[in-house]
């Protein structure tokens, strides 16, 4: 009994150090309900709030613009760069604000710069492609060029250059069209600040390289390859002959035919297809690719041409 009496004072102290919650390695059943509840509360508040980076207190537009140019290793004129990043919607919004406050500060938007940049890009990409894919007819070049200066490609390039937060626009996140237009304006700004060659190399490095790993034939939809091929061949006076050179499982759903095209009794190309007609059409497509120098085994497109290439001579192959 004396033993118990002696230690009875220690017991409350010991109880203090026993942890209330016990760690266990079980499935955390509280995680999903908690996340769901959080989501419910967030939705009640009116959805997820994205705070644009440029509304933060320590955002320094001037420093960002300077860093933007330095990141790309280009010497932009600072005023032109700011103008290139100013969208029309932002200017309108600011003017409304200024009208309320009754002050008048002139702001320039990027429409003229974008127009200039677009024009320069069109011309330069056209010349570049004509030099690099010198056998491809003008229609094909045009289709590839239109792909390269499409909103989808340009907005993608623009986004990954990090323009999203620097752009001054009324809305956030900015629309793809604004991203693309800003990129065009950037090219225009570079054209005015550093001259044609720097701008050309900028376009080459960021836009034309988007062709890397792509099949250039996919951009040009040839409606009737057989007619096109026969018309081109008939000019040379050679004889073109399609031959069925392979067929597999012809009575089944999985029938596959192979048609070879023979030019003066020498095999030119071959194509596969579910029917003989499709195989013949594919063979004609392959032949056209061979003529245009864009076959599967072509050398990779040269992305290292310096300067602005000269316009190629009038003796161009025309598809029509």
């Amino acid at each position: 009994m004396a033993f118990v009496r002696r230690f009875i004072t220690v017991i409350p102290k010991l109880a203090k150090h026993v942890p209330i919650t016990v760690q266990s390695r079980n499935i955390k059943r509280w995680v999903a309900p908690t996340l769901m509840e959080l989501k419910r509360r967030e939705d009640k508040q009116g959805g997820k709030v994205t705070n644009p980076r440029n509304t933060f207190l320590e955002w320094n537009l001037e420093a960002e613009l300077y860093a933007f140019g330095k990141r790309l290793n280009e010497e932009f004129d600072s005023d032109l760069l700011l103008q290139a990043f100013t969208d029309r919607s932002y200017v309108i919004k600011e003017e409304m604000k200024q009208k309320e406050l009754e002050i008048d500060l002139k702001m320039k938007d990027n429409r003229e710069l974008a127009e200039e940049g677009r024009k320069f890009m069109q011309e330069y990409i056209q010349l570049y492609l004509e030099t690099v894919l010198h056998k491809l007819p003008a229609e094909g070049i045009m289709c590839i060029r239109n792909h390269l200066i499409s909103e989808k490609v340009l907005s993608n390039v623009s986004f990954h250059l990090g323009t999203k937060d620097i752009i001054l626009a009324a809305e956030y996140p900015v629309d793809n069209s604004i991203l693309a237009q800003t990129f065009e304006a950037l090219v225009g700004a570079l054209l005015q600040s550093c001259g044609e060659e720097r701008a050309a190399h900028f376009v080459r490095d960021f836009v034309i390289t988007q062709l890397q790993g792509q099949d250039v034939n996919e951009f040009w939809e040839i409606e009737d390859p057989w007619t096109m091929l026969t018309e081109m061949i008939s000019k040379t006076g050679s004889e073109l002959e399609p031959r069925l050179i392979g067929e597999v499982a012809k009575n089944t759903l999985l029938a596959c035919y192979r048609v070879g095209l023979y030019l003066d009794k020498k095999m030119m190309s071959s194509g596969f297809g579910e029917t003989v007609a499709i195989a013949k059409e594919m063979a004609a497509r392959e032949a056209l690719k061979k003529i245009f120098g864009t076959e599967e085994t072509m050398h990779p497109i040269n992305f290292k041409l310096n300067g602005i290439p000269k316009s190629r001579s009038q003796s161009k192959i025309s598809a029509s």
């Binding site: 012809k250 194509g271 497509r285």
Partner: protein, 178 residues
């Protein structure tokens, strides 16, 4: 997917129909060969989960050749599932009952037992003789080389050709054959 890519895929996964003549062939060795074509193992794109197997048409399965006294000794086991339902049938009995059965069982046994096996077997067509339906024959575009040469039997060679064959000596007229 562009048109060029589509037909490339179509051609890559095209199912070729092969024909194999079982005449005088060992069914168990042939099965290992046929299996490769059925499963598509002869293709560079082969993968167990890749549906790239071809179709094989076996003809003359009545004329297969078993080694030694295998016709008499090899037994095929079957169990009905009921007590006392086990039965052992000799190879020659099975072959008399169904001349396609031995080659079919050989190919089936040569493949690993998985869910795919029965579907792969559907692509094996066996005919006891040379009579193959016309629509099947039209699909065939390749022949699998036989493992062994089919020997020519002496009694199948025309008699005058045998007589003309150079000999070292002739038996005397009054020679009595044993």
């Amino acid at each position: 997917m562009s048109a060029a890519k589509r037909v490339q895929q179509w051609a890559t996964f095209a199912r070729t129909w092969h024909i194999f003549d079982c005449k005088w062939q060992d069914p168990y060795q042939s099965a290992d060969l046929i299996k490769k074509y059925l499963m598509g193992m002869h293709k560079p794109i082969y993968h167990p989960m890749n549906d790239c197997g071809d179709v094989v048409v076996c003809i003359n399965s009545r004329d297969i050749a078993l080694r030694g006294d295998e016709w008499k000794k090899r037994a095929y086991f079957h169990h009905t599932g009921y007590p006392g339902g086990a039965s052992w049938t000799l190879a020659w009995e099975v072959h008399n009952k169904d001349p396609t059965m031995i080659i079919k069982k050989a190919v089936y046994r040569s493949m690993k037992g998985n869910l795919q096996r029965r579907h792969t077997m559907e692509r094996l067509l066996i005919y006891p003789d040379e009579e193959v339906p016309e629509d099947v024959l039209q699909n065939v575009t390749n022949q699998i080389r036989q493992l062994r040469l089919v020997p020519t039997r002496l009694d199948h060679i025309p008699e005058d050709e045998v007589r003309k064959f150079p000999k070292v000596m002739d038996y005397p007229k009054d020679y009595v054959y044993k």
